[in-house]
């Protein structure tokens, strides 16, 4: 019935399309949400999409598999650093402005 899906887990295209979909979801969230923490979560989604692409490329070209794993680990570590600083900034701004909504951060517009 659905036999066109046979072998989809052995095709690089499927993983890359999946990664593109996740990246697009993340970019939508980053552009559309008002809450600063939601925007940070969307950035995490985009970082993970890129990581999935790295791992998929590594898995489908065996000489690069270990390199892809190392790059993915480094990306995970830098994403952790980014999340730490981003959330600290959000909390510091929240302490002054009492709101997590980015469209009310207008101090530099006035």
């Amino acid at each position: 019935m659905l036999s066109f899906l046979n072998g989809i887990s052995q095709s690089l295209d499927a993983y890359l399309v999946l990664s593109g979909i996740l990246f697009a979801i993340g970019s939508f969230g980053f552009l559309a949400r008002r809450n600063a923490i939601s925007m940070l979560m969307s950035i995490e989604l985009m970082v993970n999409a890129v990581n999935l692409a790295f791992i998929a490329f590594g898995a489908f070209s065996p000489s690069l598999a270990a390199d892809a794993g190392v790059i993915a680990l480094i990306v995970i570590a830098s994403a952790a650093a980014e999340a730490t600083v981003g959330l600290a900034i959000v909390i510091a701004i929240y302490r002054n402005k009492k709101t997590p909504l980015v469209d009310e951060y207008d101090a530099m517009r006035q």
Binding site: L18, N48, I89
Partner: protein, 178 residues
């Protein structure tokens, strides 16, 4: 007892079923992160999405990265995000108006981006051989400490700087009320 090579009635293999289920979980979790009105729920959906992604890493033969994903993303970053949500949730937080006014153009742009990436991927002929074995942790470690020593050291300094900077930014000024 042995399983048949393809699933009866559906016509695709068991690995494909695993891939499809994990991919569906991941996409649904990601959509829930960006579309959910209640931000706590979108934080929980993020954990769900990252867990499915860790499963995909395992099926792609990198269990070490999957373990790091579970430890760092589910264990650390999601908890940090949930803490930040709880620190910044107020009674006045909007329930109804969670999207910016440019949400519709943003949705169109995201769909266009996904379609463009999909078309590019499908129309390119990747030189591919399917993965056979999983990457051993020893291979990964050998790479990490030989060819990638400099990035490793830079990332460790970056993490230290981020932790110090995070503490400095988030700590209360002396004598500040609240």
């Amino acid at each position: 007892m042995t399983l048949p090579p393809t699933i009866p009635l559906l016509g695709f293999g068991w690995n494909d079923l695993l891939f499809l289920v994990l991919a569906a979980f991941m996409v649904v979790g990601g959509l829930a992160v960006v579309l959910q009105r209640d931000i706590i729920r979108s934080g929980l959906a993020m954990i769900f999405c990252f867990a499915a992604l860790a499963g995909l890493y395992v099926t792609l033969g990198t269990p070490v990265v999957a373990g790091a994903q579970v430890l760092v993303y589910i264990g650390a970053i999601s908890v940090l995000v949930l803490f930040a949500i709880m620190l910044t949730q107020t009674k006045a937080a909007p329930r109804a108006l969670v999207f910016q006014t440019q949400a519709l153009p943003a949705a169109i742009a995201a769909v266009v981006l996904a379609v463009l990436i999909g078309l590019t991927v499908v129309s390119t002929n990747w030189p591919q051989q399917a993965a056979t074995t999983a990457v051993a942790a020893a291979d990964l470690a050998a790479k990490l400490f030989s060819a990638y020593t400099l990035p490793f050291e830079v990332v460790s300094v970056l993490l230290l700087a981020a932790v110090v900077g995070g503490v400095f930014l988030a700590k209360r000024e002396r004598g500040e009320a609240d």
